[in-house]
Amino acid sequence: MLRAENLRIAFPGRTLVDGLSVDFGAGQVWAILGRNGSGKSTLLRTLAGLQPSQTKNVLLDGAPLHSISRRQAAARIGVLLQEESAEFWGTARDYVLLGRHPHAAGVFGWSRIDEDIAETELAAQNLGAFSGRAYTTLSGGERQRARAAALFAQRPRAYLVDEPLQHLDLPHQVALLERLSLEARQGALVVMVLHDLLFASRYCSHFLLLYGDGRFNAGSRDQALNAATLSDVYGFPLEAIEVRGEQLFLPGPPSARGPHV
């Protein structure tokens, strides 16, 4: 669905990712893993077409992003940014409705369908009772859920989400991951930046490890996710243990830590 072709992410004096060519297919759930500043968010923004200089290296359904209008792209790619403005003039419902912008048919108002979808997604995020509350009065976690509701109201086919679990309590973290998995099972692509290895390993089918020095490691669980690759990417020893048939990765004990941490 989404294809990166020879992507390069670099800042003056530093190359974070070089020569990245990966097919992100429908139905897959990808985790982008790496240390702070390794280029995870920039890569996600690049895939979403938010980095103007790189839009020719990203293909959406075979067409380079720069050849697609922003509105058409927004109808297919939904983005949850790591930092979204906390300022907003309206209610939670007003906010979620803006997710319908790429689909809105009329010039001025919203259609009945848009409003129904917004209500449905608010309720799905347990925000039904907050629908009329001013967005700025919501707590951090409630705001994150309102952003998620706006994302799902957008009804994209590719979900590019940056640290979607931030501010969420445990039940809502699980609920969001379950919802994203459901979307993937129904044919959507999900790419998320995560720091939680337990959830990454439990909910993701594919992994993209960024080393922050140009190298990367992309592939399915068998190819990319093991204690050696993870220890390498984090520069921190990790051990794999198995609990009820599920492989989990734990940080190694202090005695096992190398000098480079």
Binding site: L50, P52, D94, L98, G109
Partner: protein
């Protein structure tokens, strides 16, 4: 209260302000004569006062206030800064320099307007070009550039005021504070306002999305770069037009959008038309007061806009609870 009802109230206030402003002045006109004159069925001195003096002035005031409020509302979204006002483009300073130079040299009204327009275009072009970099505008850079250019122009203005002969200084000060006394034919400004409203009304929802920030707006399908250029351009056109009509009238562009938001119309689909009506009518009321309340003394309207607007806004700010923020 329903948003439609609030807008209707603002509209009714606008009608009342326009009617009231035509009714008051140095010659008092009874209500019956006023409506007879307005209906166009009678001629004579009263009809002349209404049609040739007061109505054009009220219309010019409305256009000027509406344009300033519209520009302010646009810039507060574009710069994501509640303190943005239409004069950050350097338009006011540039126009003022042109007009004051013309006044200093004793040139006529037409030349003043021409030089004012030239000054406004030069100054805003300088601000835009200096703040444009790498294919896009950085709001901080634009704000800072605007402030710095305005400071430079202000120094030049002060110099002119010091050098100018005593008799012309008062006219200069009136122009600087904003005065509708030289407004002239209101039709061009009204036309500009009408065109801007027609272009901008369908963009209300896009502005709502743009207010979420550039990246988010881009991800929701707004072609951000092109849209920002369009909106900056329209805001600049509105500001230049307003300044050429009424001088640098302060306060309207900054405060009216906030006033309208506090009334509950923060959604840009409502904020833009409401700002035009509220800005226009506030300026009309201020002008009516400025020329009649202390007659025969006439104040520059810019003084009155602040005197009226400040308490209204402070009351609204004090009255709103944080829960409804």
């Amino acid at each position: 209260m329903q948003r439609g009802r609030i807008l209707l109230l603002i509209f009714l206030f606008t009608l009342a302000a326009l009617t009231g402003s035509v009714a008051v002045g140095s010659v008092s006109i009874p209500a019956g004569d006023l409506f007879a004159a307005l209906s166009g069925r009678v001629s004579g001195p009263v009809a002349d006062i209404v049609w040739k003096l007061r109505l054009p002035r009220a219309a010019a005031g409305f256009a000027c206030g509406g344009l300033l409020a519209l520009a302010g509302a646009l810039l507060q979204v574009l710069l994501r800064n509640p303190l943005a006002d239409p004069y950050i483009f350097g338009v006011s300073g540039g126009a003022a320099l042109g007009v004051l130079l013309a006044m200093l040299l004793g040139l006529g009204i037409a030349t003043q307007t021409g030089l004012g327009l030239a000054g406004a275009i030069c100054a805003s072009a300088a601000v835009f070009l200096l703040s444009f970099r790498g294919g896009e505008w950085n709001p901080y850079r634009l704000l800072l550039t605007g402030v710095v250019v305005a400071a430079g122009l202000n120094a030049a203005l002060s110099l002119i005021l010091v050098l100018a002969p005593h008799a012309t200084v008062k006219g200069m000060l009136y122009w600087l504070m904003g005065d509708l006394g030289y407004a002239g034919n209101p039709v061009p400004a009204l036309l500009v306002l009408a065109v801007l409203v027609v272009v901008l009304l369908p963009l209300g929802r896009t502005l709502n999305v743009l207010a979420l920030g550039r990246s988010k707006a881009l991800s929701l399908g707004v072609p951000v770069a092109g849209m920002e250029i369009l909106l900056y351009f329209l805001a600049a056109v509105a500001t230049v037009t307003a300044v050429l009509v009424g001088g640098t009238i302060g306060f309207i562009g900054l405060i009216v959008p906030h006033l309208v938001r506090l009334l509950g119309l923060a959604d840009h689909r409502w904020l833009l038309p409401a700002s035009v009506l509220a800005g226009g009518s506030l300026l009309v009321v201020a002008d009516a007061l400025a020329r009649s309340a202390w007659a025969p003394l006439q104040f520059p309207v810019g003084v009155l806009t602040a005197l009226l607007g400040v308490p209204v806004l402070l009351l609204l700010l004090a009255g709103r609870s944080d829960a409804s923020r």
